[in-house]
């Protein structure tokens, strides 16, 4: 059986999600052996820029016409298109200045969020995709992961504005774990309990709007999972 053809692309962004792929130092050779990598300009100068792709991994947001054109071309070539990272999934850091997420322009088959994406989550999703299984990702918020790690609550106990109750999990509460409040770099959780978050924030003198403002660093205001 021939190996699945794969392309890895970057639109406007910091290239951090492509770098996470290259940062899978222990798994990279196995990953490369499992796929037929045809198009990856960041790492190769021998690319097939037109072939059909079983899987296209696209990071970055759509900022320029060139980005949009590139994205539409990739979509036309790809059986499965995966948005990699918060810029591709939510517009990311430049959302406030007009950057668009991929799904605002084309059909996206899978969103893997994170700024940058988490290595384990990426590798797990890739394995699922290559084996024809639907990838799984948590729908609950960072707050749940933080509780599972038995951390003291930064918001309730220290009064710090933490976006953990609203932000998509998958980072294992990376920031609150070391005492740094969540800034929402992974974008909104689909199963966040908004009503409860609003109540808890307002009981403690913080409006949900103040938290949303913080969240809007990475997500365009009003965007929903």
């Amino acid at each position: 059986m021939s190996k699945p053809t794969v392309g890895i692309f970057g639109l406007t962004g910091c290239a951090g999600d492509q770098l996470v792929i290259l940062d899978c130092e222990d798994q990279l050779l196995d990953v490369l052996a499992a796929v037929d990598l045809r198009d990856f300009v960041m790492a190769s100068s021998d690319n097939d820029g037109t072939c059909d792709l079983d899987l296209a991994l696209v990071e970055g947001a759509v900022v320029t016409k060139k980005d949009e054109l590139a994205l539409r071309r990739i979509r036309a070539r790809a059986r499965t298109l995966v948005a990699l990272g918060t810029c591709a999934v939510w517009g990311g850091i430049a959302a406030a200045s007009g950057a668009a997420a991929l799904r605002e322009l084309v059909k996206v088959d899978l969103n893997i969020t994170g700024c940058p994406i988490e290595k384990e989550q990426f590798l797990s999703a890739l394995c699922h995709l290559l084996n024809g299984n639907p990838p799984v990702a948590p729908d609950y918020p960072v707050c749940t992961e933080c509780k599972m790690r038995e951390n003291n609550c930064l918001f309730l106990e220290k009064g710090e504005i933490c976006c953990g109750p609203l932000t998509a999990a998958g980072c294992d509460a990376r920031c609150p774990q070391i005492g740094v409040p969540c800034v929402g770099c992974r974008g909104p959780a689909s199963d966040a309990n908004l009503a409860s978050a609003r109540a808890v924030f307002s009981e403690n003198g913080v409006s949900l709007e103040a938290v949303s403002r913080k969240l809007s660093t990475f997500v365009r205001a009003g965007a929903r999972p």
């Binding site: 910091c14 770098l19 940062d23 960041m42 190769s44 100068s45 900022v63 950057a99 940058p116 920031c175």
Partner: protein, 427 residues
């Protein structure tokens, strides 16, 4: 007869850049290092943001240099507020910086540049023939990432470095793991230097007198036409003199009307005292003599700094584990005040400037960030010009390959270079 050479998307560099050269007979009518990366208006995005949010936003300028952006940002903020951090914080920041150098240089040396010299289109293709070489590069790269993760809390876009210090300290187990990794790293560097010194002689097609700029003892030093000048960090504009150019989303920098080079080659030229003993030995082993007139010597200079950074990190970790066990320090109290704070540091690719103006509430009113690739852009173009002048008789394929290799030799970080300006490319 007119001839145009175009590279639409430069491969094996970070971000979206291209090359355009036009010739009319032997006359060069156009030389451009095109930067297509969209503007993300980062300098505008931080306006109005409070000081504690700034480093986390600006690190997103670039993934490879995210630690440098975060650390430079923290210093600029601390300078604005008159905060002095503890020696322990300085040590940890230095170590995090070493981790970034190791990762960035290993990435460039083994995954992006070496394929040029060994005639492969990619490290992946190179790895099929020489798996030990790719694995060595990946191991060194991983070492850099492990250091950054341990100290910074994440390899890309660090979360643990905060204004005034660090949120949490690594555990003893983490330090012991780092010491073990670094022992392997010191051995790997030896193998790497042997391997890299056997890489075929670097291209000679682009020799030219270069101006260099680098940090030395907290000051910017610039060497141009054989003379040196020292510039205080706060006066960085007299070095960079940024101007917008019509074809690029990045501004260009010229010192006294002349392009200058920043990065590994500038550092080993202007501040050799910054190298560890192993770094100095690596310089001899690789036959790198400075000042160099060959931009491809950046490859050697990066290998030298890789050796130096691994040794410095190793010494620092041993210090931590020996007698100076880290202690949980009380958080520095930060009292915002209005004013300007500037920091100039050495990112892996060269000088990095962050300069912020704060209001009395600790919110940014204006920000200026100048990255190494923005500073190098004019220099890259002047080298393009010399390559084309010397190689006007070359076929288009040969000339294109030379231009691409030159651009890659500079290890450009194109996301980094994109500035505030909106131009026709960004429409």
């Amino acid at each position: 007869m007119t001839r145009t050479i175009t590279v639409d998307h430069l491969a094996r560099v970070e971000g979206h850049g291209g090359i355009t050269v036009q010739l009319d007979g032997d006359e060069i009518t156009l030389v451009r290092f095109d930067i297509f990366e969209g503007s993300r208006l980062i300098e505008t995005l931080v306006r109005g943001r409070r000081f504690e949010d700034v480093a986390g936003i600006v690190s997103r300028i670039c993934s490879i240099c995210s630690a440098s952006h975060a650390l430079t940002s923290l210093r600029a903020t601390e300078n604005a507020f008159g905060i002095q951090v503890s020696p322990q914080t300085e040590l940890l920041r230095e170590l995090m910086h070493c981790g970034e150098y190791i990762e960035s240089h290993a990435l460039h040396l083994f995954l992006l540049a070496t394929p040029d010299y060994l005639n492969y289109p990619s490290a992946i293709a190179m790895g099929a023939d020489r798996p030990e070489l790719l694995k060595l590069g990946l191991r060194l790269k991983k070492l850099g990432n492990s250091i950054q993760e341990t100290i910074g809390g994440r390899a890309i876009h660090p979360v643990n470095a905060v204004p005034g210090g660090f949120a949490a300290l690594p555990s003893v187990d983490q330090w012991i793991a780092l010491r073990r990794d670094l022992q392997q790293g010191v051995a790997d560097v030896e193998t790497a230097l042997e391997t890299l010194s056997a890489v075929p002689p670097l291209t000679e097609f682009c020799r030219a007198d270069m101006a260099f700029a680098a940090m030395r003892d907290g000051q910017i030093v610039v060497r141009s036409n054989g003379t040196e000048e020292t510039i205080a960090p706060a006066d960085y504009r007299s070095l960079t003199n940024e101007r917008e150019v019509p074809f690029s989303n990045a501004k260009h920098s010229l010192y006294r009307g002349r392009p200058f080079t920043v990065g590994a080659l500038a550092r080993v030229t202007l501040n050799p005292a910054g190298l560890s003993d192993n770094g100095v030995r690596a310089m001899q082993q690789l036959g790198l003599s400075v000042p160099s007139d060959n931009p491809f010597d950046t490859f050697k200079a990066q290998a030298v700094e890789l050796a130096s950074s691994v040794e410095c990190a190793s010494v620092a970790v041993q210090r931590v584990l020996a007698d100076e066990a880290l202690k949980q320090e009380p958080r520095v109290t930060i009292r915002p005040r209005s004013g300007v704070g500037t920091a100039v540091t050495e990112a892996p690719r060269g000088l990095l400037v962050h300069s912020y103006t704060y209001d009395a509430d600790g919110c940014i009113t204006s920000a200026d960030m100048i990255t190494p690739t923005a500073m190098n852009a004019a220099s890259i173009e002047s080298h393009f010009r010399s390559i084309v002048m010397a190689g006007a008789g070359d076929g288009t394929d040969v000339l294109t390959k030379k231009l691409e290799m030159l651009a890659r030799a500079y290890d450009p970080c194109i996301s980094c270079s994109v500035h505030l300006v909106q131009t026709r490319n960004a429409v």
